[in-house]
Amino acid sequence: MHLSDRDLALLDGAEGAAARAAMAALVQLGEAYDAPDMVDIGYAHVHAGMALYKGDVELIEAVAGQGAKMAVPVSTNIANADMGNWQSTGAPDALGQLQKRAEVAHRLMGSATSFTCTPYWAGHWPTWNMHIASIESGVTVFANSVLGAKSNRDGFFAVYAGMTGRYPRFGLHLDRNRQPTHRVTVTADPLGTADFTALGYVIGTAVGSGIPLIRGLRTRPSLDELDAMGVGMATSGGVAMFILPGVTPPYAEDFDVPGLDGAQVSEADIAGVFDAFCTGVETGFDLVHLGCPHASFEEMKHYAALLDGRQVAPGVELWVTTSRAVKQLAQDAGLLAPMLKAGAKVVSDTCPISCHFACSCSPDPALGVQPPKLRTIVVDSAKQAHYVRDMIQCPTLFTTSELAVETAVSGRFHPRARRNG
């Protein structure tokens, strides 16, 4: 593997022990995947340090304690508690306090403590041809497919990429790998983010870790819908990139590759995802959730309008989850007031599947984390539904955002109606 003079200097410890260890790990990764050299990265979205995993916040603290400083703009991924108000979700104090230590460590390293799975809505917007590293698969697919940036599905090493500004050239950092492997024809007319998470979920199931070329959508999806479709695919499959001609740089509207493995997605397929994730009780559910992935400002506007003048039914809890940055924007715009007045909780930094509800984690027993026994969670996202099943191990009811609000207000489940197509 060819290393630049600066790479070699980092390996020699020219920028300290932390950068030396980071570069050594990146070289080992590059050699494993036959990377010819390293690329300069322009941005990294990194692991938060998660309080529900023993020793995990300490892992981030150890990197910061070695004197690590970020070489490029860095944002932090979703965490295990709302660091401003963990009490509102019923999280134990010890968990909230441990999670808050990650905030200190990231600030020491110069990272933006955004603690979100949608850092793009919080202002981190990498551009065409920029190499980036991301721990969050939803960020990877949005960056590759909507923004034209170049990212693999990464793990902890996004931190090392941020510290060194370098990453081995393999996977989607090579243009020859950014080509479609499947041709997916959509005959349905999905509308709204819930539908688009379900569409993505069907596509991810069909293509696995391939790159789907998506044809047939009759209107250009909104940014929120593009985001929703990407996270759906990254959940059911290992998709890191989709190609939607006219949207994905540099593929123009007439781009097509007819000979590829084909798949079709109909309204019945999309409805099938909603049906598959309707396993819970239709009254007496514990929680209605909006904001997976973390809501954009546009989604906050939508939720505020839906909840304006309404009241969440007695005994029902409604959570809206978003980043702390978007929460601040929403507050400034007067959008939080109608939500809170309706009885909703606006939670940042975490979400149901990322918080202490999950029973697939391994917290230090001293934290006293006891996942509550939940009967059913109502969701408006196939991603949240999938992980509620696997991580909280609780039944779900999956519907649209609008009908999830009706469900919360009436206390009775409102399923999505089938659409034409």
């Binding site: 790990a25 080992q28 990764l29 494993a32 995947y33 692991h47 998660m50 995993y53 023993k54 020793g55 995990d56 892992l59 721990i135 969050e136 698969s137 990877t140 693999n152 599905r153 990464d154 793990g155 902890f156 090493f157 996977g171 870790s209 990254a234 290992g238 697939s360 391994s362 696997d390």
Partner: protein
């Protein structure tokens, strides 16, 4: 190669020794393993109910998941990690990142004789630097 010594490709550096635990099915580090006990809980694995702690885990493949690194590292934190991994195919980058963090050597694509000669329970040494696997 001499009897009981096989060449593979070193992917994650380091040396380890342990009893071989041979599986014919792919394993996902996210979801198929219980962190605290190190036991396989994934129903699609032929190792269901077996503990991987301290073993040299021999797999045809790992199933990809972006979160695999965190679970591999958690096994290390809880002392339930395998000693080393021997895989037919190069794993997902997330698995490699977790193994580097957890200091679990990985070698891949061993020579054909390995698959016919190795027996489950054999004590083996794995050298992730040279790619060498040796029965001892």
């Amino acid at each position: 190669m001499a009897d009981g010594i096989w060449q593979a490709r070193g992917v994650v550096k380091g040396r380890a020794q342990g009893k071989a635990l041979v599986s014919q099915t792919a394993l996902s580090f996210l979801g198929d393993l219980d962190i605290r006990s190190g036991k396989v809980v994934g129903r699609s694995s032929d190792l269901l109910g077996t503990c991987v702690a301290g073993r040299v885990l021999v797999l045809p493949a790992s199933r990809g998941s972006a979160g695999a690194w965190r679970f591999l590292y958690q096994l290390k934190v809880h002392g339930t990690h395998p000693a080393a991994l021997i895989l037919r195919d190069l794993p997902d980058p997330s698995v490699t990142q977790g193994a580097i963090l957890a200091e679990v050597p990985i070698v891949v694509d061993p020579e054909a004789a390995f698959w016919t000669d190795l027996r489950d329970g054999d004590m083996v040494q794995v050298n992730g630097d040279s790619g060498c696997i040796a029965r001892c």
